[in-house]
């Protein structure tokens, strides 16, 4: 199937795109749309979902995915496909700090189980859960390409490597 929706698929064009999102969010998405040829605006689907997810405090809703579809002239199901395929899109609320702990081979060999145990004890949550104050959530991820510093985790846009329980405490203490 062609990667482009049109002309193969007819898309219900949204007439009031200015009513979608805030002007800032629209400007951010537009900057991505501008990087692709005309009529290929759906190439900006992934960054648009990221922008919208960040705006919404870290997770997507069906309404937001529909709005992205409207904004980029895509059939909604195409956006759902992208948003459910990639693991960085969240479909349930997450904490202010999303702790993504790698448990793949290198990290596991280097003690990610212990890191998980420490995180769970300290935060009182397991994978897929959010602390009651909404500050932290814990997520199991596959290899994030930092095996040289295993075990590792990602919080926000930062990688933290060569983790020990003490280092984890230090990192979490430093977060707002």
């Amino acid at each position: 199937m062609s990667m482009r929706s049109q002309p193969m698929v007819r898309v219900e064009k949204c007439e009031h795109k200015e009513a979608l999102f805030t002007p800032e969010v629209r400007a951010e998405i537009d900057a991505w749309v501008a990087k692709y040829p005309e009529r290929w605006q759906q190439s900006a689907c992934m960054p648009a979902l990221t922008i919208v997810q960040d705006m919404n405090g870290g997770h997507l809703t069906r309404e937001l995915m529909d709005q992205v579809a409207d904004y980029l002239d895509m059939p909604p199901i195409s956006v759902y496909e992208v948003a459910t395929f990639y693991s960085m899109y969240e479909h349930r609320p997450v904490g202010r700090h999303k702790i993504c702990l790698c448990t793949n081979v290198s990290c596991m060999i280097n003690g990610s189980d212990g890191i998980l145990e420490h995180l769970s004890n300290r935060l009182g949550i397991g994978f897929g859960q959010v602390t009651s104050d909404g500050k932290f959530s814990l997520k199991e991820v596959e290899c994030l390409a930092a095996c040289g510093g295993a075990p590792m985790m990602q919080i926000g846009h930062n990688y933290y490597e060569n983790l020990t329980p003490e280092l984890v405490d230090q990192i979490l203490d430093g977060l707002e």
């Binding site: 002309p7 193969m8 909604p76 199901i77 759902y80 459910t84 990639y86």
Partner: protein, 779 residues
């Protein structure tokens, strides 16, 4: 190397001719070499995700998928070598990991591609002992049953939605173990072609809901059939068990329906088994209808026909009756001394009869529609009226053609119209005259100043090497049909494109050939003076009406007036179904076999005669329509009504039509005064996709789809405000002498000052023509 050059490849030791750009599987398929596959389909894009078609190619380091491997000169391929076999066996084992092995309780069992390929290419044991995954089912509507745990993710259904239906509804969400095919947000799929995913699905994940768990494939006998609802004549396979039609699937014909059929053609068979089939002849005696035996009923019918004075008899024949039925009815009527016969029951304007060509048709072959460079639809919701023809137009647009429309509603198409003129019905002649003026041809005295849209249409048509102006069903029902047709004819001639008609039933061409029109006899021979057309039979009420396959309150242009005229006269109704109206008004009711129950011929709208046999048993004492007409002919003492087979009738008509070629040349129009005038409110009619005939109206599953028209009326936001509807959800519509109340649905596709209220829907019986002025008020 150009496309026409060929070279030779070797497959399993055989030398095969191949063209550059072809995929390996196309070449092996053409040569009859079986390569197993699930995701590949010749009319869909190549996905290469099932990996079942892996074959060994010399010098390639690993097996390659035949569906995605382009052929190369001198290529050597082995489809059954140990390496290929091993790859196919491995793929099969992986595919079966998550597939439930419960074939005995699966509806697909016995006709399952996975089952067949597993038998042919799989191993005999599974090494998989872990748990299988389970996927929740979605309810995707009344036509398709889902069992998504069985899905093997071939994505044929997903690609079909995007590439053929033109709507992305099904999708593949999630990843890896969590990948699933579904809608994500549960809703009923809204495509008129949706049933094709049932055939595409290689496993039992998507099966036909109306026939679910009713028959096993090995109990069914397969017969050839022809679809009875639109002029395409899509080719069907009818699956019959113990004389009952259990289901319908497409029969491949690249010239007509390719490998698809519309949902209407697939599921309308349900109407055969509705509770209101007419099963025995009935006679009215002292005002009450009673059952009678055939002998008595036929004698009564013959007496009524003989007693009536010839010219005082009128016949209304369904445009979906067979060629044989049209011909025998025509001969019967003319022998009785009447030319009052018509099949154009929904046509809104007969002033152009004198200018009629002898055999109006599509103007082009169906397959040629894919190659058109410009198409102008006039008064046509092609997508719902002739779904498979619309598919061709859509294909032409994907290849770069322009598709334009002048319509009384912004109809929903599965492609974007390049020019979309939506106007109130009474302005349609003016809009079309605008295009005519832009091309500098006669506007029939209609004042028209072409605007940029008109020029755009004119220029697109003119610059197209091949194109068409297509008059749709709404145009045919329009009170100024003759004007629209004359304008369209002028436009087509000036722009050098063809003029086309879509027909209103499955056998319009056959009806013209047989002579089921008041002004032309069998073979297109002109009759002077002509008899009464369908509208004139209303203006000048007759003593006796013969209807064939018609529900007069549904299937005619002006239901209320027609019903009144027929109710007041003597009525001999031959048909497959009863209705409350018929039971109240008909004097003689004769049960005739419906489609699939009778042999016959449909001449499709491209002029192609397709014959079929009767394969299902009609209920009760129902007899084939052509036999009823034959016996009536015998009983009124006509010569030459001694046919033993329907094929004799067919051969006689076709011989009489040997010199009759399809022709769309329109003569000069005498009466050029527009009949339609703007009113305060105008009705926009048409016939919804699942209301076109007795069968589709009774197909329960179709009536549960989003395309079924409930008892509503549609108008736009501004119209609702003008009527001050507020919270009120109903309006009263008065037209002519009738009036009825309707629920309101807001639909901004309807132009200002109009109500969209089709005929043949509940509530419309009391009203008049599909188009025209109406009075509307808040109820």
């Amino acid at each position: 190397m150009t496309e026409d050059q060929t070279f030779t490849i070797e497959v399993d030791g055989q030398q095969l001719e191949a063209r550059p750009g072809q995929m390996l599987i196309e070449v092996t398929d053409a040569a009859g070499i079986n390569v197993p596959r699930f995701c590949y389909h010749k009319h869909l894009s190549v996905a290469a995700n099932c990996r079942m078609c892996l074959v060994e190619v010399e010098k390639a380091p690993k097996p390659l998928p035949a569906c995605a491997t382009p052929v190369m000169n001198g290529m050597k391929v082995f489809t059954r070598s140990p390496l290929a076999r091993e790859a196919q066996k491995g793929t099969m084992e992986f595919l079966l990991i998550n597939h439930p092995l419960d074939c005995p309780i699966c509806d697909q069992g016995g006709e399952c591609e996975l089952q067949d390929v597993a038998m042919g290419y799989g191993g005999d044991i599974s090494r998989f002992t872990e748990r299988k995954r389970v996927v929740r089912d979605e309810d995707i509507g009344s036509l398709i049953a889902t069992d998504m745990t069985r899905c093997i993710h071939c994505t044929r259904c997903v690609r079909f939605g995007g590439e053929i239906a033109g709507l992305r509804e099904l999708g593949a969400t999630g990843r890896g173990e969590h990948l699933r095919i579904g809608l994500y947000i549960e809703h009923a799929v809204a495509s008129e072609l949706s049933g094709n995913v049932i055939d595409l699905c290689p496993v039992g994940a998507l099966t036909a809901k109306p026939s679910a768990y009713q028959a096993r494939s090995w109990e069914l006998s397969e017969y050839d059939g022809v679809a009875p609802h639109d002029g395409l004549g899509s080719n069907l396979h009818l699956h019959v068990r113990r004389n009952r039609l259990m289901r319908v699937v497409p029969r491949e014909n690249e010239d007509v329906n390719q490998t698809w059929i519309s949902d209407r053609d697939r599921f309308s068979y349900q109407g055969l088994y509705s509770d209101d089939r007419l099963q025995r002849p009935m006679l009215r005696e002292n005002g009450k209808l009673r059952e009678a035996d055939w002998q008595e009923a036929l004698m009564a019918a013959a007496r009524a026909l003989k007693d009536a004075s010839g010219a005082r008899i009128g016949a209304l024949i369904s445009p979906s009756a067979t060629l044989e039925e049209h011909y025998l009815a025509t001969r019967l009527l003319r022998a009785l001394g009447s030319n009052n016969i018509d099949h154009r029951l929904r046509q809104g304007d007969f002033r152009g009869d004198a200018a009629d060509p002898a055999l109006p048709w599509l103007g082009q072959r169906i397959a040629d529609f894919s190659n058109n460079q410009a198409t102008l639809l006039v008064g046509s919701w092609l997508r719902k009226d002739q779904p498979m023809l619309n598919h061709r137009v859509r294909q032409s647009q994907i290849d770069g053609a322009l598709v334009m429309a002048i319509n009384p509603v912004a109809y929903d198409f599965n492609y974007e119209l390049d020019v979309d003129i939506v106007c109130i019905p009474s302005a349609m002649t003016k809009e079309l005259a605008g295009v005519a003026a832009a091309l500098g041809v006669d506007t029939l005295g209609i004042e028209a100043v072409p605007d940029p849209a008109h020029h755009g249409i004119a220029d697109s048509l003119k610059s197209a090497a091949q194109g068409t102006v297509l008059l749709g069903n709404a145009a045919t029902m329009h009170p100024d049909f003759s004007l629209l047709r004359a304008l369209a004819s002028g436009i087509a001639a000036a722009a050098g494109v063809t003029l086309g008609f879509v027909g209103s039933g499955s056998n319009d061409c056959g009806a013209w050939m047989a002579g089921a029109v008041p002004h032309r006899d069998t073979g297109g021979k002109a009759i002077a003076p002509p008899g009464l057309d369908a509208a004139a039979m209303l203006e000048q009420p007759l003593d006796l009406y013969l209807t064939f396959g018609v529900e007069p309150e549904m299937d005619v242009a002006e239901p209320a007036r027609m019903a009144a005229a027929l109710g007041a006269a003597q009525l001999l109704a031959i048909g497959s179904h009863t209705s409350p109206w018929l039971l109240e008004h008909a004097d003689i009711l004769l049960p005739a076999a419906a489609y699939a129950e009778t042999s016959g011929t449909f001449v499709n709208i491209e002029g192609n005669a397709q014959s079929f046999r009767g394969v299902a048993a009609p209920p009760g004492e129902t007899r084939p329509g052509w036999k009823i007409l034959r016996v009536l002919g015998n009983l009124v003492g006509l010569d030459g009504f001694d046919y033993a087979e329907s094929t004799e009738v067919r051969d006689e008509v076709l011989a009489a039509c040997a010199d009759l070629a399809p022709d769309n040349r329109i003569g000069d129009l005498q009466d050029r005064k527009p009949k339609s005038a703007p009113g305060e409110w105008e009705r926009v009619g048409g016939v919804p996709i699942y209301a076109v005939d007795a069968l589709s109206r009774r197909a329960h599953a179709l009536q549960l789809t989003p395309d079924a028209w409930g008892g509503e009326l549609r108008l736009n936001t501004a119209a609702a405000a003008a009527l001050d509807l507020g919270e009120a959800a109903a309006v009263r519509v008065a037209q002519g002498e009738g009036s009825a109340e309707f629920e309101v649905r807001i639909d901004d596709a309807v132009p200002d000052g109009c109500i969209w209220l089709p005929t043949a829907v509940p509530g419309s019986e009391a009203l008049g023509a599909a188009f025209g002025p109406v009075a509307v008020e808040k109820a």
